[in-house]
């Protein structure tokens, strides 16, 4: 769906960037320039994308100001220093503001793999060397290990969406006790919960518990059919076993509303909603009165706005909010004559 338009956008931008690089090369030939003109004349989409990349390239000219007055070029001039210049105020602000950082991961794999993590309230998109994407939700961590013949990603904490790019190597995701192998072009979400790993397939298909090359012949086929999750299925997988059920597209979109910085509630209990908000914020909410925890809620909220959620709850229900001694927001029943259902 939209991921396709996203990759199309990326393809156009990549092509535009390549033209920018080529045209700026002193050895660029007249034929190259003609080919570029033809490409640009193809569509306004190309034309606009070229302007975007060319403008960035031009702004990067400013980097020349960093050139020290020595003869020999230092190719590692801009490597991160310790103490690092990267901890500029804007960088901290980005993290604090839960902005999405796009990380282009290269082949920087050292022994244990490369780890990517997010803080509370942060989201992050990681694009791997093969163009597979990982989108990390709040307070999450993955370790990526691309070895010979297998692309392995382990979810250590939290929740992430994985989009496996086409490649001959299998794309294997590990989370708690689950080992999954995604078909290429699969888009799936995995969340670690107290009762195991919750896997939701949005697009494509995934084999649960697939151990490549271990099960041979019929037995493997049987297993595969048994534990194959297709688009529109969600499963909880724990050491005790797995259970799966079908989910609608809109249910999946609601579960993944965090990718837009939102929490989508559709009849969840106050208790579940509060637990959800507490994942994204240091400002915690507590239910002080168990009799209100079963209230049912619906609506869209910003993940980072627990206060607007609380005020929506207190204006819709006989619920009172107060600051607790620990700094948390305490929700309790407001004294009213009627009974709450």
């Amino acid at each position: 769906m939209e991921r396709e338009t996203g990759s199309r956008r990326e393809a156009v931008r990549q092509a535009a960037a390549l033209w920018v690089v080529r045209l700026d090369d002193p050895s660029c030939s007249a034929a190259d320039r003609a080919a570029f003109e033809a490409w640009r004349d193809d569509s306004h989409e190309h034309e606009a994308a070229y302007e975007r990349e060319a403008a960035a390239w031009a702004r990067l000219e400013r980097l020349r100001a960093l050139r020290p007055g020595v003869e020999r070029p230092d190719r590692d001039l801009l490597a991160e220093r310790r103490p690092s210049v990267a901890r500029a105020p804007w960088a901290r602000g980005m993290a604090a503001a839960a902005a999405i950082a796009l990380v282009v991961a290269g082949t920087m794999t050292f022994d244990g793999g490369t780890a990517y993590a997010t803080a509370i309230g942060e989201r992050r998109v990681v694009v791997l060397s093969d163009n597979s994407r990982i989108e990390l939700n709040t307070d999450s961590k993955v370790v990526v290990r691309y070895r010979k013949g297998v692309r392995e990603v382990k979810l250590i904490k939290g929740e992430a969406v994985f989009e496996a790019a086409k490649d001959v190597r299998p794309f294997v995701i590990k989370a708690a006790d689950a080992v999954m192998q995604a078909d290429s072009s699969t888009e799936m979400a995995v969340r670690l919960r107290s009762d195991g790993a919750a896997v939701t397939v949005k697009r494509g298909a995934v084999d649960l518990d697939a151990t490549p090359g271990e099960h041979k012949g019929e037995r493997k086929d049987e297993r595969k059919d048994d534990l194959r999750l297709t688009a529109g299925v969600t499963a909880i997988y724990s050491s005790a076993g797995s259970r799966s059920r079908a989910v609608s597209d809109s249910e999946i979109d609601r579960a993944l509303a965090w990718r837009q910085g939102a929490i989508a509630l559709n009849g969840q209990s106050l208790e579940q909603a509060v637990a959800e908000f507490n994942r994204y914020n240091r400002q915690q909410i507590r239910i002080a009165d168990p009799s209100i925890s079963g209230l049912r809620l619906a609506g869209y909220f910003q993940t980072t706005e627990p206060n607007s959620f609380v005020s929506a709850v207190t204006s819709a229900f006989p619920v009172r909010a107060a600051a607790g001694s620990d700094g948390a927001i305490r929700l309790s029943r407001r004294a009213v004559p009627e009974k709450i259902g």
Binding site: T5, H44, E45, A49, R52, A56, A97, T107, M108, T304
Partner: protein, 196 residues
């Protein structure tokens, strides 16, 4: 004719491109149900904006661009198979930007330099080296290829990767007024960014 096209592109680069962070923030409001990618909306908005032959008559580029973006969002909504009630309701609630963003958002020069240097520092090692030799030391791709023992096409790939990373960084820079998702801690910067 060719001159006219050049003028049109220069106008686009000067007036429309710098709006990207604002447009992205605006686009996010249309994408809360997760069905549309806000970056796609901005991408499409750019393509429609640069096509405008009557650009000379546009007095307020910010208002012009946000109007296009809204239309793109509407088109995306219409293309959808299933309209969810929340999507429609949310959509109706989005006001056009009251105070249209303007192009007064050129970062203070030292700040931009730092942003770019930080972006390069975040690149993978080999990519960063190639990029540094090209953009800081102005070596040609051929020279870089010889120096690092790479093919020219590998050098180009690294440069494309680095450029894509930086252009997205610049496009996603947190804007001056950005009350949508992640604006809060940035209000203090308004005065800074409001400088032309």
């Amino acid at each position: 004719m060719a001159q006219d096209d050049d003028d049109r592109r220069a106008w686009f680069r000067r007036e429309i491109l710098p709006l990207e962070p604002d447009l992205l923030a605006y686009a996010r409001q249309f994408c809360r149900d997760g069905q549309t990618d806000p970056e796609d909306l901005v991408h499409e908005t750019f393509a429609r904006a640069i096509a405008c032959k009557t650009w000379r008559e546009i007095g307020n580029p910010g208002a012009f661009a946000t109007r296009i973006l809204r239309n793109c969002a509407l088109d995306a909504l219409r293309r959808r198979k299933v309209l969810t009630i929340t999507a429609v309701a949310d959509f109706d609630r989005i006001e056009p930007i009251d105070e249209a963003p303007t192009a007064q958002r050129v970062l203070e020069s030292r700040e931009e330099l730092r942003l770019l240097a930080d972006a390069i520092a975040e690149l993978p090692t080999q990519c960063r080296r190639v990029f540094t030799l090209r953009k800081v030391y102005s070596l040609s791709p051929e020279d870089i290829a010889v120096r690092l023992g790479l093919s020219v096409s590998t050098v180009e790939k690294h440069l494309v990767k680095g450029l894509r990373y930086c252009s997205d960084k610049l496009g996603r820079r947190i804007g001056r007024k950005n009350k949508v998702d992640e604006g809060r801690s940035w209000s203090a910067r308004r005065d800074h960014d409001a400088k032309r």
